[in-house]
């Protein structure tokens, strides 16, 4: 079973980036922002970050751990991992199809 990130509207993309970041292990807000910037090449603002974190937590895709010096780490749940895998496999299939079609065309 996995959740549908499409329900998150404009927070779907930041949420996916956060899930990818947390797949490496628990992390807190600031470190997630830095990591997302490094792996995704795009920056997410603090308001968007926490709006996405709240949605992911409310849906059980991530969970909060005990705060460490006011910084609260988050980690991926089993549902979050399943959802992330489904999302990435979907994107992988989508990318493969796109590349195959591009190779078959005269434009590439």
């Amino acid at each position: 079973m996995s959740a549908n990130l499409g329900d998150l509207g404009r927070f779907a993309e930041p949420s996916l980036l956060i899930l990818v970041s947390l797949s490496a292990g628990p992390n807190h807000g600031y470190a997630i922002m830095e990591d997302v910037e490094a792996i995704g090449g795009s920056r997410i603002g603090p308001g968007t970050l926490y709006a996405a974190l709240a949605r992911l937590e409310a849906r059980g895709l991530i969970e909060a751990l005990s705060p460490q010096d006011r910084r609260r780490p988050y980690r991926l749940t089993a549902l979050g991992a399943t959802t992330l895998r489904a999302q990435l496999e979907g994107l992988e299939g989508f990318a493969r199809t796109g590349l195959r079609r591009l190779e078959g065309s005269r434009l590439a």
């Binding site: 509207g9 600031y30 922002m33 603002g45 603090p46 974190l53 949605r55 937590e57 409310a58 705060p67």
Partner: protein, 235 residues
């Protein structure tokens, strides 16, 4: 920096405020970040997302506040019924003219914002969140239009029509968004149909009574069975 956090709902600040402040200390916000935080605050007010499994506030210690929407609905419903009774019991004119309703209409006008605010508060409570901007504006317009309706012509007509429109909006929003029980939906439909058939110039004025009765029953059930929160907004 904590000033911008005040834009967020209190429950949200209790849950995420500290860690967000810590983040902003680590990474001072740019002007774009401030805009992003402002958007985030509006989003938090419009779409509360606090996880159900981790209540950030202790069990409510003031059950009276849970009962306020119900009590407001009872008060509004009773006031509405008094207004209807004043019309229904007033003597019919001996000639082909209007029935003198005296204070009845102002009494009814006063009852509607009470019912409106009760329904808005009940919907907010059922979705387990804070008052959004839409909720606040509807409450302000309901109270404001009642005040305007007391100013005499043409304020009477402007206020009355606005009040009816606001009440209809509040009821539809409640029925659509608050997971209203079937009996409330059925009652609202029946009361609306009867109200459309009502006429304050003869005994059909009594057809307005189901609106007041429904508000009283709704208020009694809400006040006796308060529900602090129900669900997380999916949006």
């Amino acid at each position: 920096m904590s000033a911008i956090l005040r834009l967020y709902p209190r429950a949200w600040r209790e849950r995420y405020g500290d860690e967000l402040l810590a983040l902003l200390e680590d990474r001072p916000p740019s002007p774009l970040d401030l805009i992003d935080l402002t958007r985030g605050a509006f989003d938090a007010r419009l779409h509360p997302q606090l996880p159900e499994t981790q209540p950030v506030t202790p069990e409510r210690k003031n059950p009276m506040s849970d009962r306020l929407p119900g009590l407001a609905a009872i008060g509004g419903g009773l006031l509405f019924l008094v207004g209807v009774a004043m019309i229904g019991l007033a003597p019919l004119p001996s000639f082909d003219g209007y029935r003198e309703t005296g204070l009845a209409m102002p009494v009814i006008f006063l009852s509607l914002p009470l019912i409106d605010v009760a329904l808005i508060a009940a919907a907010v409570r059922r979705r387990g969140g804070a008052w959004g901007r839409g909720d606040t504006w509807l409450a302000i317009i309901a109270v404001g239009s009642t005040a305007v309706s007391m100013t005499g012509w043409p304020g009477l007509m402007i206020g009355f029509l606005t009040l009816i429109a606001v009440t209809a909006t509040v009821v539809v929003r409640y029925l659509r968004n608050a997971g209203a029980p079937p009996w409330v939906v059925a009652g609202a439909v029946v009361a609306t149909v009867l109200a459309i058939a009502a006429n304050t110039e003869d005994d059909r004025a009594w057809l307005l009574a189901p609106i007041g009765l429904l508000a009283v029953v709704f208020g009694l059930i809400s006040a006796l069975r308060p529900r602090p929160s129900a669900s997380v907004d999916p949006a």
